[in-house]
């Protein structure tokens, strides 16, 4: 039976786009000769050569600036900032150059680049190798933020990101790399359309990335309780597919947003706020499951308690008043 591993999906997406379009290039730290520290990009260097796929010095700010300048002048750079935690370093170029160009140039041109990073906790990498930088960037108009939840999404969304004429911040959850799943049905998954991997009537659980699988598992278990939970997979945080969430809530009237990150300044709270502003009277209940408001701990006991998972989603739904069988 043909299944696809997440890391292979990433590699294949890049390979197919390198094949398809000679203006696509791929670079980063130890992504070429070594094939990436998460072994997500092996054999691209061998196959496409040093002109298209190359390693760089440890210079995140210059990497992003180089990608921006190259994108404005005819190339379509895909580059890796190894861990999402390092995405604070290239931020100036991404925010003040790439994100602004299309608008302030009065649409003279745009910036087709993709910056990939491994994000998220649970790997015992500690506070500075486990963060998810999506919310640092969500408030930046002009930057797309894409975060796949499965191998099929990784491939379809990464291909869409590489073909997109705008800068894309692409997140890959560490604990998804070794996950296997069905092959994609579409070659390209359009950016900005949330998915509904599970239909339900009593409750809408919205999430993104790794947490989608946890939400699905929790929804299964809730079925035993007689609670029918719908799961929405946002896929991107900008553009934000509010419409799909509102439509779902108009049927379930209950909303739980699950975020692997703090509640304050997080995307989950922002989503609830946007839903409240548009569909307040559709809501019977709405709440957030997030992490504690602290950095991410290293110790297994602390990290396991810190990160939302299937159990904590279940516990959160069960303890929340008002969720009853439909």
């Amino acid at each position: 039976m043909s299944e696809l591993e997440f890391r292979t999906a990433v590699r294949d997406a890049i390979a197919e786009e390198l094949d398809r379009d000679p203006s696509v290039i791929f670079f980063g730290e130890d992504v070429a000769v070594a094939g990436g520290v998460f072994k997500a990009t092996p054999e691209l260097f061998e196959r496409f050569g040093p002109e298209r796929v190359f390693d760089t010095p440890i210079s995140e700010l210059a990497l992003a600036g180089m990608a921006y300048g190259a994108a404005v002048t005819g190339l379509r750079p895909v580059f890796e900032i190894m861990f999402g935690d390092f995405m604070a370093l290239p931020m100036d170029s991404l925010v003040n150059q790439a994100a602004k160009f299309w608008y302030i140039s009065n649409e003279q041109g745009s910036v087709p680049l993709v910056v990939r990073s491994a994000v998220g906790g649970g790997g015992r990498f500690g506070a500075i190798h486990s963060q998810t930088h999506a919310t640092w960037y969500q408030g930046i108009p002009g930057l797309k933020i894409v975060f796949p939840s499965s191998p099929a999404e990784a491939k379809g969304l990464l291909k869409a990101s590489i073909r997109d004429d705008n800068p894309v911040v692409f997140l890959e959850h560490k604990r998804l790399y070794s996950v296997k799943g069905p092959l994609p049905e579409q070659e390209v998954i359009p950016i900005g359309q949330a998915g509904i991997p599970r239909r339900g009537e009593d409750l809408t659980i919205v999430s993104i990335g790794k947490s989608v699988a946890d939400a699905l598992a929790a929804a299964e278990a809730l079925g035993q309780d007689g609670v029918s939970a719908e799961v929405v997979d946002l896929r991107s945080l900008r553009p934000l597919d509010l419409g799909t969430v509102l439509e779902s809530v108009s049927r379930t009237h209950r909303l739980l947003a699950v975020e692997e990150g703090p509640m304050i300044g997080g995307w989950a709270a922002g989503l609830l706020g946007a839903v409240a502003a548009e569909g307040l009277h559709e809501l019977d209940d709405a709440w957030i499951l997030a992490t504690d408001e602290t950095p991410i701990p290293y110790s297994p006991t602390l990290e396991d308690a810190f990160i939302p998972d299937t159990e904590s989603i279940l516990a959160s739904v069960r303890s929340r008043a008002g969720v009853v069988a439909g």
């Binding site: 210079s59 700010l61 600036g65 180089m66 300048g69 005819g74 190339l75 140039s105 649409e107 002009g142």
Partner: protein, 325 residues
């Protein structure tokens, strides 16, 4: 033989006369912008290039139209040197719909892709990285990229990371540091360890040179060498062009922090003065020189008049989009 020589001479003379005309245009442009700012037509802030004209003009004289340049918020001179239409540039400063960026960018952030001005950057050091990226494209297009930046930018992480990256990848990039000896109100020596910007290239094995940035011919010669090296696959070069700004850092900064005699000495070496007398020495007539000067004058007057008459963008009518569809 003699004919050929003189033919070459006249050719080169008209070349430099055109360059001088461009320098005059920039000077008039900045004089106009300064007045327009004080009159409240230019908003926010503005950083004038007057005094540094030979750097942008001399460098661009060594470039092909398809070569890329990136500049700073002090970028009006670079834009005009690379070919941006003066009227569209004034209109941008005035925030008009007819501006080169429709009034969206303003004085600090001009973009003109048609003339391969990738951008002007309000972030110190940003122009260096943008130029590095343009060099990556240029290396595949037989083109060259030139990044302009100031002496203050030489203390920024952007500078170091891009020097190293450009050399490692042997990119066709020319780093042009416009050393006007001040970063805002801070003198070079107070912020720049060693005080030798060109010297910082050595450790990366990047060829570098200190250039008289007020001498059009010197800049052109140094830039030509660097551009040839880049085009020939010889990798990056760092040029430290020493020059001086005639105005304060921005707005109406009177620059009290600059010693009078220092200003005096630099004013005597005004790049326009120097170019003008060199052209006369080379045998050009006063008439031809006056002619191009008057032309520039007239060009600017028309540009300003047209810009002032141009409409502002209408927020209701213009459908700005966050993303390219």
């Amino acid at each position: 033989m003699a004919d050929v020589q003189s033919a070459q001479q006249t050719e080169s003379m008209t070349l430099f006369l055109d360059a001088y005309a461009r320098m005059v245009l920039i000077r008039r442009f900045e004089t106009a912008i300064h007045r327009l700012f004080l009159e409240g037509h230019v908003h926010g802030t503005t950083h004038l290039y007057a005094g540094q004209e030979a750097v942008a003009v001399g460098t661009c004289l060594a470039l092909e139209p398809e070569d890329y340049v990136t500049g700073t918020y002090r970028g009006h001179g670079l834009a005009l040197a690379k070919g941006t239409e003066p009227g569209a540039l004034v209109a941008e400063m005035l925030g008009r719909a007819s501006g080169v960026c429709g009034g969206r960018a303003g004085s600090m952030n001009v973009v003109d892709l048609e003339h391969r001005l990738v951008g002007c950057y309000g972030i110190v050091g940003g122009s260096i990285a943008a130029g590095l990226g343009a060099a990556l494209s240029a290396s595949r297009q037989g083109r060259v990229s030139v990044a302009f930046f100031g002496d203050g930018a030489a203390n920024h992480g952007y500078f170091h990371e891009c020097l190293n990256m450009a050399k490692v990848a042997m990119l066709p990039l020319v780093f042009v540091c416009e050393n006007n000896f001040y970063a805002e109100f801070t003198p070079l020596d107070a912020a720049t360890a060693g005080g030798d910007i060109a010297g910082r290239a050595k450790a990366y094995e990047i060829p570098s040179a200190v250039v008289d940035g007020n001498d059009l011919w010197a800049v052109h010669a140094a830039a030509s060498t660097a551009v040839e090296r880049a085009r020939g696959g010889g990798g990056p070069t760092l040029l430290e062009c020493q020059t001086y700004r005639h105005y304060g850092h921005s707005k109406s900064d009177p620059a009290p922090y600059r010693p009078k005699d220092e200003v005096q000495q630099w004013m005597e070496r005004d790049p326009l003065k120097l170019a003008r007398s060199r052209l006369l020495d080379d045998g050009l007539t006063e008439e031809r020189i006056v002619a191009v000067e008057e032309e520039a004058e007239a060009l600017m007057e028309d540009a300003v008049r047209a810009a002032k008459d141009a409409p502002y963008p209408d927020p209701r009518s213009e459908a700005a989009t966050e993303f390219r569809p």
